[in-house]
Amino acid sequence: MIIGNTSTSWKFFSWFFALALISPIVVMLVGSLNNAGDLFSHLWATVLPEYIQNTLVLGVLVALLSFCFGVPAAVLISQTNIVMAKQLRWLLMLPLAMPAYLVAYLYTDLFDYAGPVQRLLRAWFNWQSPNDYYFFDIRTLGGAAIVISLVMFPYVYMLTRTAFEQQDRNLLRASRLLGCSERQSFYKIALPLARPAIAISLTLVIMETLADFATVQYFAVNTLTTAIYDTWLGYGDFGAANALASVLMLFILFVVVAEQRARAGQRHQSSRPNANQERKKLSLTQQIFGSIFCWFLVLAGFLLPLTLLIIMAIDYADYPQLIALIATGKNSLEIAIYSATIATLIALTLALFHRLHQSRSRMIPLQISGFGYAIPGTVLAMAMLATFGPLDHAINDVAKGVGFQAPGLILSGTVFAIIFAFVVRFSAIANGTINAGISQIPKSLDLAPGSLGVKTLPAIFRVHLPLLKSSILVAWLLVFVEAMKELPAVLLLRPFNFETLSTQIYQLISDERLEQGALGAILIVLFGLLPIIFLNRQKDS
């Protein structure tokens, strides 16, 4: 350990950040305590069981599908000579730039009874009514699971692929020397080694799914978030809403703990990333199926929705729309950059504290700071108001008390609240990514600089950070893209005259008028692409 017990400032900052990040959650939990039980029992007797069942099924389905999409893709790209591997490598990350609610809308439009696909089929086969044929209904739990998985699987893909690429090739060689077949060495060595990455990414996917509101609402699938919204906005019972949100948190906590338990005691670090790993040569059939699989994901998760958007934009967009988008786009971009930067810096602080500090509670800040990811955006926004409102009041009271003009709501009424909410919400992503990166650094490197007489901080800058460069970039990128897409928190917390791309699109979607926002939607996607392209360049050079 290169940070001793004496490094109190690191400890202080870690705890400070972690506590700041969970303070809204604590406020939420406290709020749930003064909840009258009768509404809860009414819900329990009527709709809640089905909501909970839907939530669980959705979580499991999305996890399963994301696994089936992400892991094979990661294997194909990192371990085989699949055609166009270099392009697919980054193409497979693109669906991440697509907001799920947008894909939900576009695919409903496409596959609904009134959509072009079914219209075409009816015209071809001369069917008259829905009773004449079977067509899958996209506005179902299954439809929601597929759409969410199509845009979330890149998490699994990216983290798993990175894990495969950073594996120690000597282990694989050794296994082959010891008589394992190629297949055996993959299942016995490579896959287990990638398990932490797969587990972390699946946890992220599940958390995101459970907190989703816009997509499930669009698909008319009632989940726990529906219940939270109903109790709060319908029944006006914020206490009960908080209580339900706490139940949701328990689910998440369960997932997180289960994930950590499942891979407790596993430790592996590599100092020899296998950049030049021997790739498996695929047979022709394997090539064909592998390619179809990868291109299907790219097509369904990205190219098709983008094409639909472009068609809409061509039909509907005009010059004034474009001008209006510049200010809106700038707002989105600003918020996303701040959030990504702050979340990444905090994640670095916490993850390195966890790794390098000697204090016994060193893992706690890292663990607790990620919980915000599980809270639906609107509930989080409410928690922000509940947290910063009183603080603002205190500031104003003090200012007035000493004779200054009251400064107004400088915390809860400004972009500060939005950015804070984003950092709370997306810290889990940054933490997970950077922690996964750190766990790949051999422990011996923690000790080496100390033995050479180099001080702690310089050692981190010269040893750990360079090794973490790609993890840091991935973390920043993921938070940036998520922040570009995030909606409910901005809707509620924004200051006057403040519009972002996502709020604008949401407004139009809820009116079935996405056509007029197609240009903005394309912008969200393009902004989401920038970091992916940048990241890809970085890797190549």
Binding site: F238, F416, S510
Partner: protein
């Protein structure tokens, strides 16, 4: 590297603090549930006339909580809502103040404002029944939606949407809770599909033969007729004003109120007076195809062409009062499941 980080944090803090807007006194601040395209033309006109700048936050959810948390330091002056229940929610939480002016009194009929002057309606909208033209002309009552002959023929958006909740509340006021629950269960049994999408999406479904009847607010009809893509949907249906032979069609309002701690009270009152003025009423009603509340101001030609109708005179505050009961019934009937 450390210096770089420190430097960037400074820049960050600096930028964050500059983004805090300090609003001048010649502004008025609006929290709006109404959409930008509806109110922006009005605000531009207001600014042109008075020189008062209008700052707006648009939101669909949680405005009352935000206002409540902000308390006495809230910058909000005026609140615009799309539904009576939101106004009552704000009033019940003591977030509004009573406002009176000769202009308001002259413009708004008593049934469209709060008895204590805490809120005023701006426009009214009918909860219509849309029916496929292939059914021919039918005289609908809301009660008919429960009729077995419409099994599998009805489409609607979520029962929990404020517009439907208000309708259910009105049904409770008329028939009582038990009967309304039976009605809801029967309507539920008649649905062609699980409640989903918006009011417009239901008309689209009728156009596509998926169902024959739907519930929808009046202005969507006009807005669809004016939309290149959606015109064919609207052309497939009749807009019906229900219960014309008895109590009249259920009517909801969009409205305005002044925040309790409005920092720019004079400007806020000026805006309220402006919004009930004849030209503004005309403009507001026309932009979104609604009915102006001010007597003597005509709705748009298109809206007028749907004919005169009888509106239910049930008081808006009664509707709002049954809101919670309506939600409980919707859950009991498992309407959205």
């Amino acid at each position: 590297m450390l210096n770089k980080i420190l430097f960037s944090s400074f820049v960050l803090v600096a930028v964050l603090t500059t983004s805090i807007n300090v609003f001048a006194n010649d502004d008025v601040n609006v929290y709006s549930y109404r959409q930008p395209f509806l109110v922006e033309p009005l605000f531009n006109e207001f600014t042109k006339e008075t020189g008062i700048k209008v700052n707006v936050v648009f939101a669909k959810k949680g405005m009352a909580e935000r206002l409540e948390r902000e308390g006495e330091y809230s910058p909000a002056d005026i609140l615009l809502t799309t539904d009576i229940s939101r106004l009552i929610e704000l009033k019940d939480k003591h977030l509004l103040q009573a406002v009176q002016s000769p202009e308001l009194t002259a413009a708004i009929p008593a049934q469209y404002k709060a008895a204590d002057n805490t809120w005023y309606a701006l426009t009214t909208r009918v909860r219509n029944i849309y029916s496929a033209k292939r059914l021919g002309k039918v005289d609908f009552n809301y009660e008919d939606l429960a009729d077995e002959k419409y099994r599998g023929k009805i489409c609607t958006r979520s029962g929990k949407h404020p517009y439907n909740v208000a309708l259910v509340s009105a049904m409770i006021a008329e028939h009582g809770e038990a009967e309304t629950l039976t009605w809801l269960e029967k309507v539920k049994a008649n649905l062609a599909r699980k409640p989903q999408g918006s009011d417009r999406a239901q008309v689209q479904a009728i156009h596509q033969n998926l169902c024959d009847i739907s519930l929808g607010n009046s202005y969507y009809f006009g807005n669809m007729l004016n939309d290149d893509k959606q015109k064919v949907w609207a052309d497939a249906v009749y807009i019906n004003f229900p219960n014309q032979k008895n109590r009249g069609a259920h009517v909801n309002i969009s409205g305005m109120a002044m925040a309790k701690y409005a920092p720019n009270k004079a400007n806020a009152l000026a805006l309220m007076n402006f919004l009930v003025s004849k030209p503004a009423q005309k403009m507001y009603a026309e932009t979104n195809m609604e009915y102006p509340v001010r007597p003597g101001v005509q709705p748009s030609k298109l809206v007028a062409s749907w004919g005169e109708f009888k509106a239910d005179t049930l008081s808006l505050e009664t509707i709002a009062k049954h809101r919670k009961a309506a939600l409980i019934l919707l859950d009991k009937a498992q309407f959205d499941l």
